[in-house]
Subunit: 108 residues, 2 copies
DNA sequence: CTGCATCCTTCACGATACTG
DNA sequence: CAGTATCGTGAAGGATGCAG
């Protein structure tokens, strides 16, 4: 564990680049319950703007954490699914939840 | 686990507010090895600016993840230590490391 | 429905100089 | 050594309108 060194490219920074920011982890978390379309995601994360949602989905797809499937129908139908790499974020999200809960518990 | 709902105050967002951003987790991680002074931290995170370091330490202290001890000496001597709440971030950092390593492994 | 383009605001972050 | 003050920049995020 002490084998992590703070350099230009350490695991912590890699993860921050992949899922850092305000939205990516929330999006990934929503997709754990199964594939969702843009509208479904928008509903489950009410306060994200459409622009940010599409933008983040694109970067998540670029880093292969999410896959985008276009059904080529009319009206358009596009489905977003977690990839294997994306599913690997589950323990991370659990750790975040545990941290927050423990933090709030100790606030008393 | 599916008990996390994306609301204004969900655990994920709480954690993002506490340790989100570019530097806080890196600082916490450095303090796992023991207390450090400002200069020591600066050396272990070479590319952080002095301003950001002090600023982040202050918010970490405000949220009680880090404690600041001023020895009141001359020249100044101030030591930063992880609190119990701060130590609770360890599993989070480990999860981030695991995620990054697994991600890179699957890149081959 | 999905997505792009634009314009705009905010703020995280950074560079530098200065103080006790 | 530790910290403050100031100024500046770029990126992140947001609002809105338009298009296939």
């Amino acid at each position: 564990m002490s084998s992590i060194h703070i350099t230009a490219r350490c695991p912590i920074r890699t993860t921050l680049e992949l899922v850092g920011g305000k939205w990516k982890l929330l999006i990934l978390f929503q997709l754990f319950n199964g594939p969702l379309r843009l509208t479904g995601l928008k509903k489950s994360i009410p306060d994200i703007s459409e622009k940010m949602l599409i933008q983040e989905l694109k970067t998540l797809a670029d880093s292969e954490l999410v896959s985008r499937k276009n059904f080529g129908e009319v009206p358009p139908r596009v489905e977003y699914t977690l990839t294997e790499k994306g599913k690997a974020a589950m323990p991370l999200i659990e750790a975040m939840r545990d941290f927050a809960l423990r933090y709030e518990r100790k606030m008393e």
